[in-house]
């Protein structure tokens, strides 16, 4: 589904990712783990189109989307659940969902896989809070809303940037379970997370990112059997921009 070759990307004046090669097969869940500053968010944003690629290619389902702007990529099936959730404080849950779904043509809506109704069926907590405004939702509910919003974009590839940051352990479990079920609905998933333990729980394969380069890649089973593998790959905070 997703193929990154020699991908380098960054912001004005600096390169964050250096020549990344990554392949994510359709219908799988893939995680990227690394410290702050290692490039997880930059990677996610490069795939979604929010960060320009300085060299290399981004290939989505066989099509080269490297030069495609973000909104076109979204139409091609890239969904983004950004870090920090970015829920609109003044809009209700229902309004969020209608906003995310309503901009499609009538025919698209009729044939859409994800609708506000079945998204609410997937996330009952959200259904209960349909009339609540964004600012009245708890962190976990906001996260679910952000995921619901992304699903209503009818994605084929779903990008999640640190989806469990700041969530209660019980909710982390719920989100992890949710992520694991999404491939059954035809989605391919890329998750960025700081903790290898969580990554190994939701994903089949885990890539370790250090200072914008891929340090290693493990299967979930390998990490499960040997939890120290990831920590070793990340090093004792070497390479990260923060001091020691």
């Amino acid at each position: 589904m997703l193929n990154l070759s020699s991908l380098s990307a960054g912001y004005d004046g600096g390169t964050v990712l250096h020549g990344l090669d990554l392949e994510i097969p359709e219908g799988s869940v893939h995680a990227v783990v690394g410290h702050n500053g290692a490039g997880k968010t930059t990677l996610i944003h490069s795939v979604s189109g929010l960060v320009p690629t300085s060299s290399g290619q981004v290939v989505l389902a066989g099509a080269d989307v490297t030069r495609l702007p973000a909104h076109r990529r979204a139409r091609s099936g890239v969904g983004l659940v950004p870090q920090g959730r970015r829920v609109f404080p003044g809009l209700t849950v229902q309004e969020h969902l209608m906003l995310a779904f309503g901009r499609r043509t009538r025919r698209e809506r009729a044939t859409a896989q994800w609708t506000p109704e079945n998204v609410k069926a997937l996330l009952p907590r959200l259904a209960e809070r349909a009339g609540h405004r964004g600012r009245q939702l708890s962190g976990g509910e906001q996260q679910m809303l952000a995921i619901a919003r992304a699903l209503l974009g009818q994605p084929r590839l779903l990008l999640l940037d640190e989806p469990t940051e700041g969530l209660a352990p019980l909710i982390v479990q719920d989100i992890a379970n949710l992520i694991r079920t999404l491939p059954d609905r035809g989605l391919t998933i890329l998750v960025a997370a700081p903790r290898p333990a969580f990554a190994a729980e939701v994903a089949e394969r885990v890539t370790i990112l250090v200072a914008g380069r891929i340090a290693d890649e493990f299967s979930a089973k390998e990490l499960h059997d040997q939890p120290d593998l990831a920590a070793e790959a990340m090093g004792h905070a070497t390479g990260e921009r923060l001091a020691s």
């Binding site: 390169t15 410290h35 702050n36 004792h236 070497t238 001091a243 020691s244």
Partner: protein, 297 residues
């Protein structure tokens, strides 16, 4: 609700109570009760954790204590003094510092300036609006940059920081205020395991007189650092006790911890490691030269 005996349930005639809230209530428009009739005390010098499901009122509690929000009813006492009507700026000057769930910084100023401005009202240097004095203040703040691990970013505009770096800056700013009470709102969120260890180090290095109240979800972290744990749910107190007692509490497990996190903490925290394992010289950055001038997440 389990009745667990702990120092925090002793009536606050004890002179070492640093923070006390009585019948504290906060209602939002629409009638939602974020916090309802809370009675809590936090002992001076203690490391207190506040946990609970999302929406339990933890951040609201911190906001009420720090003064970001005025209570609907009830009282807040700080070191014996009623501060309920006192503005947050004054409470800050009295010694209460905090970090935020979504770290907010002064984006067009440099990281070093952010720390210096945070330290400004709390330093006794006079005439800091003058350049030379301000420079003295900045130099004194360099150690806070190191503790937060962001010395390399000192001249960067704070707005250009990645999310996790901004979090560390937020912590650095709170520490720079040299507070008597430190309120931390989910400081470990988004940190890697090594990042959490570094955070623990910084917290262990705090002077013992500083009272710390931490809102956190990472129960391993809580077990490693906290003397007492207060569990909130739907704005009221669910349980309070030591980390071990709370982990064993059935009501807490059902409402919040789930079995996995509770189990992890039962077998001892991996984070309880010997201080000597770590190089505490936060200024040295082995192997960080990756050849690029700027990196950002």
């Amino acid at each position: 609700m389990t009745a667990v005996s702990s120092p925090t349930t002793i009536p606050s005639t004890a002179t070492n109570t640093m923070i006390e809230v009585s019948a504290l209530t906060k209602a939002f428009s629409g009638g939602t009760l974020a916090v309802g009739g809370l009675d809590l005390t936090f002992e001076a010098g203690g490391r207190h954790a506040v946990i609970g499901p999302n929406g339990a009122g933890k951040t609201t509690l911190l906001n009420l204590i720090s003064g970001e929000l005025p209570p609907t009813s009830g009282r807040i006492r700080y070191n014996g003094r009623d501060v309920t009507r006192i503005t947050r700026a004054t409470r800050s000057r009295l010694g209460i510092a905090r970090t935020f769930q979504q770290p907010t910084v002064w984006s067009t100023l440099s990281v070093a300036d952010n720390i210096a401005l945070a330290a400004w009202p709390h330093s006794d240097v006079r005439g800091k609006w003058r350049r030379r004095r301000y420079r003295r203040l900045s130099e004194a703040c360099e150690s806070y940059l190191e503790t937060a691990g962001i010395t390399a970013l000192a001249d960067r505009p704070a707005g250009a920081l990645a999310h996790g770096e901004r979090r560390m800056l937020d912590i650095g700013m709170a520490l720079a205020a040299d507070p008597r009470v430190l309120l931390l709102d989910e400081p470990a969120a988004g940190l890697t395991d090594q990042g959490v260890e570094r955070l623990l180090e910084a917290m262990r290095a705090l002077p013992r007189e500083v009272t710390v109240v931490v809102v956190e979800h990472d129960f391993a972290f809580v077990s490693a650092i906290a003397d007492t744990v207060t569990v909130l749910q739907d704005g009221t107190l669910l349980a309070t006790g030591t980390p071990a007692e709370i982990a064993a509490d059935a009501a807490v497990r059902a409402a919040y911890l789930g079995e996995a996190a509770a189990a992890a903490s039962e077998f001892g925290s991996d984070l309880d490691v010997d201080d000597s394992d770590f190089d505490t010289d936060f200024g040295s950055v082995p192997g960080s030269d990756t050849g690029t001038a700027k990196e950002a997440v």
